[in-house]
Structure formats: C-alpha cells, structure tokens
Subunit: 216 residues, 2 copies
DNA sequence: TAACCTACCAAACACTTGTTAGGGAAGTGT
DNA sequence: ACACTTCCCTAACAAGTGTTTGGTAGGTTA
C-alpha cells in the first residue's frame, strides 16, 4: 500500500510469488506425478519431454510449472516418495527380529508389494538411479542403496552363519542375484495380472531358496 | 549382415560423394562404435549427445558424420552386431542336442561370455530395448526377444517333461526369473574383475538350479 | 609436380528442449 | 458488486540438439 516501486530491481519485495508448488491441492499434484511417472517409466526420463507429460495430463507444457518448478523436481518427488514408503516397510520387517530365512521371505514379499503399488517409480529407479546418484540432488539414492545392501547382505550372512543358507556361494554374488531378480520384475509386472504380488513372491522365494531343479 | 541403407534416389552420379560410411577403414569405425557404446551405456542413449561421443573419441561432433550417417545408426549397428554374435553362440548351443539341464547350463554360460565381451551393448540393450522395439527400424529387437523366449521357455518345458525341473512352478515366471537374473548382471559386471564369466555362470547356475537354502 | 583420397575441423543450420512471463476464465468469499 | 484465488493458456525465450556444408592438412598415387 505504501509507495509502490514499479522500477525494476526492487531489492526486497516479500510479495508472495505466483507459484504455490506445495501448498495447493495435493491430490491434483499427486495425480500429475502419477501420470509423469508413467511416462518416465515408459520412455525413460531423458527421452520424456515436459510436453509429453503435459499431453498425457491433458494440458500444456507451461502449465505444469504452476505445480512444479522443474522437470527434475517431478522426478525427485516421485523417487523420494517411493523410497520413503519402501523404507517404511523394510524397517518394520528388519525390526521384527525374525530369523534369516524369514527375514528374506518378508523382504521379498514386501518388495513385490511395493512393485505392485509403485510400479512406475520402481522402473524409473532401476533405469536411472545409476547415473542420477552422481548428481548431488539425488545423492539419497546412493544412501538408500547402501542401506539396502547392508540389510540384505547382513541377513544373508546371518543365514550362512546359522547354516540355513549355503556357505559355498560367493555371498556378494548371491546378494546381487537376489536383489536384481526381485527388482527387475518391475519391468514386466502389471498390476491386476494373473498373479498377486504375494503369489509372485512365493514363487520367487521358492526358486531362490530351493532352486528349479528336481531334488534327487 | 550389417544394416545396409543404400538410400536410393541417386540414379547415376559419377561424381564421388563424400561419405564412405561403410567402405572406409573398418577398424576406426569399430573403434568409434566401441567408445560410443561405452557412453551410451553409462549415460543412456537419449542423454548422450553426439558431442559427448565426439569428446570421448577426441574429435568434434560433425566429424562423426564422416563415419556414420546418424546417431541412431550408431546405436543400430552396436545392437545388431551384438545380437548377431549372440545368436551365433546360442544357435550353436541349441543345435548341439543337449539335455534340458545341460542346455540351460550352456546358455547361461554363453550369456555370461557375451556379457564379458559386449558389456556395453548388453547394458544398452537392457535399458533401451523396450521402447526402441516400437520403432520400425529396431523391430529386430522384438524378433530377437521372441526367439529368445522360445529357446529358453522351450528348454524349460522339456526339462519339466523330463522331470529334471520342478513342475510346481509357473513356467513363465521361471523363464523371466532365469532370463532376468542373467542379463541384469551386465549392469554391475566389469571385465577383468575377480570372477571369470565362467565362474559367475557356475555360481548363478548353482543358485538357480539348487537354491540358496541348505538342504535338509 | 599435380591430382586425389582420407579423416578431420569450423561454422553454421533448423529444430527441440526446459522454462518463464503475462493474461484470463471460472469459482469463492464478502 | 467487487476483490481474490486457483488453475490453466498463449507466446515467447535462450540454450542445447542432431545434422549439413564447405574447407583443409597430410598422406598416397601417377
């Protein structure tokens, strides 16, 4: 109300800018993030233009910037939301004090549930996390991966010590084996298919634990 | 056979054009394709600019077009060269008339040898094949994947019929399981590491066939 | 010597990219 | 009636993209 300064370069202007970006309706935001995640997962992050996302959302490219301040922010939010929920589930399992085999079973089952609920995010994570984690903004991806390795590798080691897992296998190889076989499933899994996440988990566990060969 | 693109429309022009693109020294060509594959694998195809490739090759962006007629051609040549060699190995195995278990073992071993020799190409294939195969130019990726499924799935079915593989598992799940566990290894495998391809294959086969649990 | 070929450079081209600025329609509260 | 907010559009921007064109140093051949 006092003296207005239309001249450029006004130094201290606390006037509220035009972008809410976090305070607005969170449902629309989540809606847009879901469609963005779908496009990212289908085409790859770099191959996805903001215009394609806008197309899929039924609006124009510039309008996305009312909700988000960059394409990278969308990716960030998609991935961090997924990881937050993932670790919520994992931590519960790890704190339950189960035996090694039961822990592996619970982790695998939990993973397939996450794939079921965050299929797109998992697919993006799998494709892009390697070169994203070099960027400082996405360094939490590396952190998560380290926690991940610690949890799985530790459980496997416990299992070997307790003689419930074989001791004649390279345990790092085993870790990568189990980890990869679980997460790549996101590339072909479709929610609402023939098998429930729990059923897929059961079959995967049966294969990983007992093998596909007939026992003699 | 490499993808030949004569790009007709030039009826009979005695004046020699300026681009060899296939007839020139093939070693330099292969050299450039190798560095390009490395960058593609590290950064992703779409995130890789021709200037980055040129940088890695120690030349300028435009100079690449003396050897290749497009960025896409480089990708095409990398992938088709890999697949050609892969199927050479696979067909030999499949024609050997081995039993189901021995066929699986040979296929897995052959796969890890290919990963050893074409690590970059495999990584690219894994990341990009899904959305590339939609493009007509890369339709041979779909063809290859179908042949792939036929070979593996058929062998697994033979094994179930011969009672060397378990019959209580969903065979399509098993197929995807085995397939994925093999090829994702390209994302972490580094030639010259601790384990030879054959050693990795041995461990993988041991896990897949017999499981990681201790027999009771 | 001259002609020629190979393998590259320098500089630009047309287009796409993520992003921004200003505006406006529809709804809500007063 | 008015102001205000929400959510989107129109139209543009600068930077980066794949690609082309013309040129040229250096070697090979005649």
């Amino acid at each position: 109300m006092p003296t207005n300064k239309p001249t450029a370069e006004s130094p201290a202007e606390p006037t509220a800018k035009r972008k809410p970006q976090v305070s607005a309706s969170p449902e629309r935001r989540r809606e847009l993030l879901d469609t963005a995640a779908e496009v990212f997962a289908a085409q790859g992050y770099n191959a996805t233009t903001v215009r394609k996302i806008a197309d899929a959302a039924g609006m124009l490219a510039g309008s996305l910037y009312y909700h988000f301040d960059s394409k990278e922010s969308m990716l960030d939010e998609i991935l961090s939301a997924f990881l937050t929920e993932l670790w919520q589930g994992y931590d519960t399992v790890l704190a339950a004090g189960l035996g090694p085999r039961e822990t592996i079973e619970a982790l695998v089952t939990e993973s397939f549930r996450e794939i079921d609920r965050h299929r797109a995010a998992v697919a993006i994570y799998q494709k892009e996390s390697r070169h994203l984690s070099a960027q400082p903004r996405f360094h939490y991806l590396s952190d998560s991966q380290q926690k991940f390795e610690k949890a799985w590798l530790g459980t496997l080691e416990r299992g070997v010590a307790a003689k419930v897992f074989r001791a004649d296998l390279d345990i790092r190889l085993t870790y990568r084996f189990v980890r990869d076989t679980v997460w790549v499933a996101a590339s072909w899994y479709r929610p609402g298919g023939q098998h429930s996440p729990e059923e897929i988990a059961r079959q995967y566990l049966s294969m990983v634990l007992d093998g596909i060969a007939v026992r003699s």
